[in-house]
Amino acid sequence: MKDFNYSAPKTVKEAISLLGSLQGEVKVLCGGQSMLVLMKQGMLAPEHIVDIKGISELDYIRFSEEKGLTIGALATHGAVEKSPIVKEKYPVLAEMEDNLAVVQTRTWGTIGGNVCHGDPAADPPAVFIALSSKYKLMGKKERIVNAEDFYKDLLEVDLEHGELLVEVQVPPMPANSGVAQEKLMVQKGDMGIVGAAAFVTVNPSTGICEDARIVLTNVASIPFRAKGSEKVLIGKKIDEKLLEEAGQIASEEVDPPADTHGSEEYRRDMARVFLKRATAKALQRAQQKN
């Protein structure tokens, strides 16, 4: 690993001014779970590292009925997994964390680090997008962006030089809605070979699907919004046949990579299977709430 300059600010303010003043290649380091891998492989060799893991003001998980859930960038996966309010109001996030990595990574890796890494296989971005979440960014000024718009390309996100992600904002769950996440793991805790997060709302009297937001992971260079599939579901009563149709559409629309874990062909079919599984589960949850 190449040498670098290291600093560890203790407040957001300090971090922002430091990030603004440093010349050359600067990287923010948080839990290092993703970044150190790249550095050890020589794929990343920044001149300056600004370690934000000590900024305790960003380590929180809060909930209010009006605003919904806000997760500070420094909240760890483990904290989300174990949070009683998450379990109560957004159990899908706790379920997701239970299958995310191993306990060591969950204990040290952060939500901020995960969503900023820009890995299309990551779970939290997909679930956040399905839930219409927003990210709060802080640099010279504050910005709020839709989680969905944050992802630009493989490992590329909408962060400007000197900007930090400070918070993930998850809106309250609408009435008659359900959300679920499923992924294809060879072993528990694997990055999904393919994954799906699905959010649906159902009219309790007609049983008709009024809204659907479905996001697939690891099938494109960014989290993949399965818009074609959503379209066939919205406005209809979802049954097995319709689900199969939605799944088929997804398998055609995705642009999956091929790697040691699966070919493109396999991933396409798994996009179908997991879109169906996640959506069916979300639907069941939406119906149960009635």
Partner: protein, 778 residues
């Protein structure tokens, strides 16, 4: 069985391991933990081609880098070549004029820290001319294929053609004959401790502390490499963090480079491989294509077997000559078989080197044979467990032996008991009637049984010696040339010495090999340690005991054979009230004897005489005795995704003769080999592309944890082998061989598809299911 269990005061008991407290407290010192004043860090410069001529190496820029203290290249070893035997010496410590596999070492640097050494490697300019390469052993066998070792004129590293009985006739007379080809993957040893070495020269003697399971192998090799008398090579063994064969058996670029860099710089040099180096360049298990043809009667009795094996040996020979023997040497166990023929090749390719691994050789043919056996059982409508039980070699009566058609001598065989008990523990009867499909999930169960040698007698040098030293305060040092690489043999040796001497485990201390003081020993492989070092330790302890008894007898005015030792007392067997305290007897023996210490020496000579016709003809008793095992596993298969996983339901029976320490046997069986066994069935595989390893890390290269494979239920079959000390034989090589076939046949049971190129990854199962569906719809 209770009788045997109560025969001893220490043996057969669940005694805690002697190394456990050190290991769990983080105090155990492994090779990578050793440091010295003035020490330098070394790093290997590696070639980015799988096959290329080295045209020039320019180290001048690297030498100028501040902090660099020395650089060596392949030429600096003066043409030294090494290999397992004289005729397989085909490898140099670093490539000299040609690299033959991706990332082979071409130079090494010593610098004041790791980062500088690494940077210096980047500054070494090597000019290559890329050569055509060959990665598939079948291609490599063809005329005109690029030659790995041009002086040999062929890429065939070794071939065996053996013939026993009359296989063709047997097939002609069989009710059913089937033939299928199975392919095993390239797989990692998977130890967590990296290969590491610290080397220095002191008083003209080469000192070497390294992670080696067979320290005397590297001792001899280093003696030749540096042209030193063996008296001036001192190999000191730290605690070893696993071996499983391969890089930790013999040498690799780091071993030679550290020694030469230390010589050149006059300072200690340490090299620790990264996990990436280990997984891309270190020795891995062979991959092998096994075409297996089997004949059976209408009732499912085996009539004949033919195997045709082609293995990828990688760029250098290493132990492949042995691996290929072992691949077929025990195809005649654990089932009765009168007709057997094989044609077997191992071929050089431009892949990383293949070598020994737990279940050595056996595991490949085991997979193929079990696969064919299950397909035949289905055709014949015979239960696969019943089929195996009825073909099992029976346990010979005391005093009798069973000889296989290739002259393997079996004094005890508990395979039938292992199969029957595994069936009981699993609940095999009745399993068939359970409903095993739930939504997209289908369950199924599979069985496998195996046998493996203990105490390999394949070449010379297999004797083993031990010293038991009783100090003036009564404390005992046990010393053998054997090495505990994690399997628990240090504990077994202490238990044996304590049993013989009538002492407690707290009186025992065992140190590891220091070639300046311990007896030479071939090392930890071939499941040889407990039976050979165990026998040697038993004799050494007996000799020490005799000295104590003689001294006490003189003082007590009785004959030594009237005395025995128990609970730190030397007592008269006929009158236990007449005794002498242990310490008094020790003092007497110390001062009356030839010094201030009692030294008992023991040797096991069972391994001295090799089976000379083994390799060429397949004939002979190459083990001292043979362990047996059976295993049953249930898997769940997701029919939509192809994900298969083990359930909580599994069982294993193991016949290691007599479990000296049942807990250790169980951890070797259900804890160690179980996961390693099913790993190749479901998970482990190096994915290769033109000689490049695409998944050289333990995130992309999957290995099962306890979540994926909960521990099986376990049965000890106690057969008291006549040829092992206290009746013991190997444990965990047979059980390493049964894991993969058990899960593969469980998938077959659940889905009707036989995966013939394990591991059964989700995509492979998904494809197979798709094909099956297409077939059915035709």
């Amino acid at each position: 069985m209770e009788e045997i269990k109560n025969k001893y005061s220490i043996l057969g008991k669940r005694i805690p391991r002697v190394d456990a407290p050190l290991k769990v407290q983080g105090q155990a010192k492994y090779a990578a933990d050793y440091e010295m004043a003035g020490m330098l860090w070394g790093k290997i410069k590696r070639a980015p081609y799988a096959h290329a001529i080295i045209k020039s190496i320019d180290t001048s820029k690297a030498e100028m880098l501040p902090g660099v203290k020395g650089i060596v290249t392949g030429k600096d070893f003066g043409g030294f070549k090494w290999g397992w035997q004289g005729y397989t010496r085909d490898e140099t410590p670093l490539a000299v004029d040609r690299v033959k596999y991706m990332y082979e070492g071409v130079a090494a640097v010593a610098a004041i820290d790791k980062d500088i050494a690494e940077e210096a490697c980047d500054l070494i300019d090597v000019e290559y001319e890329e050569l055509p390469a060959v990665f598939d052993p079948f291609e490599a066998m063809k005329e005109g294929a690029p030659l790995l070792h041009p002086e040999r004129k062929t890429n065939i590293l070794v071939e065996y053609h053996w013939d026993f009985g009359n296989v063709d006739k047997a097939f002609d007379e069989s009710y059913l004959v089937m033939e299928e080809t199975f392919q095993t993957p390239k797989s990692a040893k998977g130890y967590l401790e990296p290969p590491s070495v610290l080397a220095w020269w002191e008083h003209d003697t080469l000192h070497y502390v390294g992670a080696k399971g067979s320290p005397y192998m590297i001792w001899r090799i280093l003696g030749r490499a540096f042209d030193l008398p063996l008296s001036k090579v001192r190999v000191i063994s730290p605690i070893i963090g696993c071996d499983f064969g391969g890089t930790k058996n013999d040498g690799h670029a780091l071993d030679f480079s550290a020694c030469l860099l230390a010589k050149k710089t006059g300072r200690p040099v340490k090299i620790v491989y990264s996990q990436w180096e280990e997984l891309t360049t270190c020795l891995r298990r062979h991959s092998m294509a096994v075409r297996c043809k089997m004949g059976m009667t209408r009732d499912g009795y085996l009539t004949g077997l033919y195997t045709n094996c082609v293995a990828d040996g990688g760029a250098y020979a290493r132990m492949s000559v042995v691996s290929m023997y072992l691949a077929n040497g025990f195809n005649t166990v654990p089932y009765k078989l009168e007709n057997f023929r094989t044609d077997t090749w191992c071929v050089y390719t431009n892949n990383p080197i293949a070598a020994a691994m737990r279940g050595h050789g056996r595991y490949h043919t085991q997979y193929a044979m079990d696969g064919v056996m299950d397909m035949m059982a289905k055709k014949l409508g015979i239960d696969p467990l019943e089929l195996r039980i009825k073909n099992s070699i029976p346990n010979p009566k005391p005093g009798e032996t069973y000889y296989t058609v290739n002259q393997v001598r079996i004094g005890s065989c508990g395979v039938k008991e292992c199969l029957e008990k595994s069936g009981e523990l699993f609940g095999w009867d009745g399993y068939k009637k359970e409903n095993k499909v739930d939504g997209p999930i289908a369950r199924g169960a599979g069985v496998s049984a195996s046998g493996f040698l203990s105490g390999a007698r394949l070449t010379g040098h297999n004797s083993c010696s031990a010293v038991v030293r009783i100090n003036e305060d009564g404390a005992v040092n046990v010393l053998t040339g054997a090495t505990d690489v994690g399997m628990g043999s240090d504990t077994a040796m202490c238990m044996i010495a304590a049993e013989v001497l009538g002492l407690d485990m707290s009186d025992m201390e065992i140190k590891r090999v220091d070639t300046a003081y311990t007896y030479p020993d071939p090392g930890s492989y071939g499941s040889r340690v407990t039976i050979y070092a165990g026998e040697a330790t038993m004799h050494a302890a007996e000799e020490a005991k005799q000295q104590i008894l003689s001294a006490a007898a003189k003082e007590m005015d009785v004959a030594p054979d009237e005395l025995d030792i128990k609970n730190r007392r030397i007592f008269m067997k006929s009158d236990e009230t007449r005794f002498m305290p242990w310490l008094q007897a020790v003092r007497l023996a110390c001062y009356q004897g030839n010094g201030n210490v009692i030294v008992g020496k023991g040797v096991s000579r069972r391994g001295v005489k090799p089976a000379v016709q083994a390799f060429e003809k397949g004939i002979g008793d190459t083990g001292t005795n043979y362990g047996f095992a059976a295993q049953i596993n249930e898997v769940e298969v997701d029919l939509e995704t192809g994900v298969a996983r083990c359930t909580e339901r599994s069982s294993m029976g193991d016949d290691c003769g007599f479990p000296l320490n049942p807990t250790i046997v169980e951890t070797q069986g259900i804890g160690g080999s179980y996961h390693q066994g099913i790993a190749c069935g479901l998970y482990e595989e190096f994915i290769m592309e033109n000689g490049n390893t695409l998944n050289p890390n333990f995130v992309d290269y999957k290995r099962p944890r306890v979540y994926e494979a909960p521990f099986p239920k376990f049965h000890h079959a106690i057969t008291q082998d006549p040829f092992g000390p206290y009746g013991v034989k190997e444990c965990s090589e047979a059980t390493t061989s049964t894991g993969a076939p058990a899960v593969i046949s469980a998938i077959y049971d659940a889905t009707g598809v036989m995966i013939k190129n394990m591991p059964a990854t989700p995509e492979k199962i998904w494809r197979a299911l798709k094909e099956k569906k297409a077939q059915e719809n035709k």
